[in-house]
Amino acid sequence: MSDIAAQPAPNLLANGWIKAGLIVIGLVAAALIGARLDPTGTIHAIFVDPFNQMVQAPDLLAQTIWEGLVSGVLYALIALGFVLIFKASGVFNFAQGIMVVFAALTLVGLYEKGVPAFLAVILTLGVMFALAVTIERVVLRPLVNQPDIILFMATFGITYFLIGFGESLFGGNPKQMIAEQLLLPKGAIDLKILGGIVSLQKIDIAAAIIASLMIAVLALFFQYTRIGRALRAVADSHKAALSVGISLNQIWVIVWFTAGIVALITGIMWGARSDVSFALEIVALKALPVLILGGFTSIPGAIVGGLIIGIGEKLGEFYWGPLIGGGIESWLAYFIALGFLLFRPQGLFGDKIIERI
């Protein structure tokens, strides 16, 4: 046994939990003191009242969380499309949002031209494959070995091209997603729980299930197959991947096609909840805070990040929104992401950035 006196005193603050605990205690103390000195009740309204509401009406809380969960799943799907391409080619694909719109528009457009619904899905997949091949040939291949920022800018080009192309083909008017024809359920299930009614849209349940299945399949594919391994290899080192005989061109087509499939599914699900229009592209930007939260290279990160943003957003809107006149849903996600950037820039699951000097 060593002499205890000779050991340095343990630094309590080095332990993250203790640190966090102290901060929480500090916040609570500040809140208590604040409540005394708070004649207008502002602090009460921010720090106490929302939680009171949550406890008093648990059914409303459950409803809010469920809605957050569903939009979270859809954010996660969009983010997944970004992560796939970023992992395999190091390109931040700004066009993922418009790919969602384009896939959904193609599907609906084909249906309106008289193609049966399921045939339209298959044809749309064909279109997404053609798009992947075209992007690889026309955009990526000539830009091999260029700095990432150039490829990033190129995806802006793809975005604007797809907007114009989509509008000229299908028109700019919002369209109705053919949810019924694709046998997606309609209506809602009302659960009588927690002293009230929680209403679950069937389409939301379907979206959650389909999204989970797809994520599981993708994860298995990445982890255990030759092509999955090749994708991860390309993500790590282009020249080493080339040297073992992996064709970058082939991999890029596969990745962009996979992102296209993800885009189509996202488009169907999102379109079924609202409608299919170019406004959807703005929603896709929500994937940015999701990615900042989850890390750009992590599939689980995209999922967890999506859920956090989705739920956080809905809770914030419902309980805190009225305090400042509502509408915070549109920016709260970015606000959360900003907090993460300050304290954990690599995201929850991203690879920690270690630079040797």
Binding site: L220, F221, Y224, T225, R226, I227, G228, R229, A230, R232, A233, A235, D236, S237, K239, A240, A241, L242, S243, V244, G245, I246, S247, L248, I254, D351
Partner: protein
């Protein structure tokens, strides 16, 4: 190792076999910079061929030309009797040319096992469909290749790091994993770019042994770039010497060592 070097010293010119790869009058420029100027040499089947020269002599550029990373502006590269115009790296790999890199290029996030498995990419030919399902033929294929990879892991004595992500391994072991990945391709021609750079003596000896074993046991033809003269003289059957992108000598280690131009290039010459 000693026995081998004596054998080499005992045979004045080792004609191990027919020419596997020949480089004829190759020139490579980057803009105005001449990396390689009019270099010709050949690599015979089954030999260990060293490419040496001072820094910036164009050694790595030469390897890059051979495996298709660079396309020389002039000259010809003939591999297995076929002249190759603008070969792409994955085509070179498919033709049986494997390589390692000067600054280890591994897939850092992946385990040793997975890294070496990527070397089997071209040997695995079951379709995308089965791959996606991860069933039927793709599954038995996976197992079959896994066996080959395990043999390579045994051969290189890296069983203890099979499941570790390679990014965290010490440099010497990373180089060994990289060799393993190249071996998994079952190459006919193995290009090693400074396989012993940054290693300590013990690691170098291990690596020398592996290179010789690969050459002897599998009959793999090896072209290597190395700075350690002792290693080069011990290992190689023939040596080609580059300086400022030009070939200044070509022959057995003994011949090259005695060549005045080589001595000048390495020791400097009074002007």
């Amino acid at each position: 190792m000693n026995a081998h070097s004596m054998a080499v010293a005992g045979t004045p010119v080792t004609h191990k076999g027919e020419v596997l790869l020949s480089v004829e009058n190759v020139s490579l420029r980057f803009g105005g910079v001449k990396a390689i100027t009019d270099v010709s040499f050949d690599i015979r089947k089954g030999e260990i061929r060293a490419i040496i020269g001072p820094n910036g002599a164009g050694k790595t550029s030469m390897l890059n030309c051979i495996n298709g990373f660079y396309h020389p502006q002039e000259g010809r590269i003939t591999y297995k009797g076929v002249r190759r115009a603008k070969v792409r790296p994955h085509q070179a790999a498919a033709a049986g040319i494997a390589r390692t890199f000067q600054n280890v290029a591994l897939f850092k996030g992946m385990s040793t096992l997975d890294n070496i498995m990527t070397g089997r990419t071209l040997k695995m030919r079951k379709g995308f469909f089965w791959q996606a399902l991860r069933h039927g033929p793709a599954m038995s294929e996976e197992i079959e290749h896994r066996k080959v990879v395990e043999d390579i892991i045994d051969f290189l004595q890296i069983q203890h790091i099979r499941k570790l992500p390679v990014g965290k391994l010490p440099y010497g072991l990373q180089k060994r994993v990289e060799l393993g990945r190249a071996l998994a391709m079952e190459p006919e021609l193995l290009l090693l770019d400074e396989p012993m750079a940054g290693m300590n003596l013990e690691e170098k000896e291990d690596m020398c042994r592996f290179i010789l074993d690969v050459n002897n046991q599998f009959g793999t033809t090896i072209a290597l770039i190395e700075h350690d003269m002792g290693v080069v003289m011990d290992l190689s059957d023939r040596v080609v010497v580059l300086e400022y992108g030009r070939k200044i000598a070509d022959g057995t280690p003994a011949e090259v060592k005695a060549d005045q131009r080589v001595i000048d290039a390495y020791l400097g010459v009074a002007h």
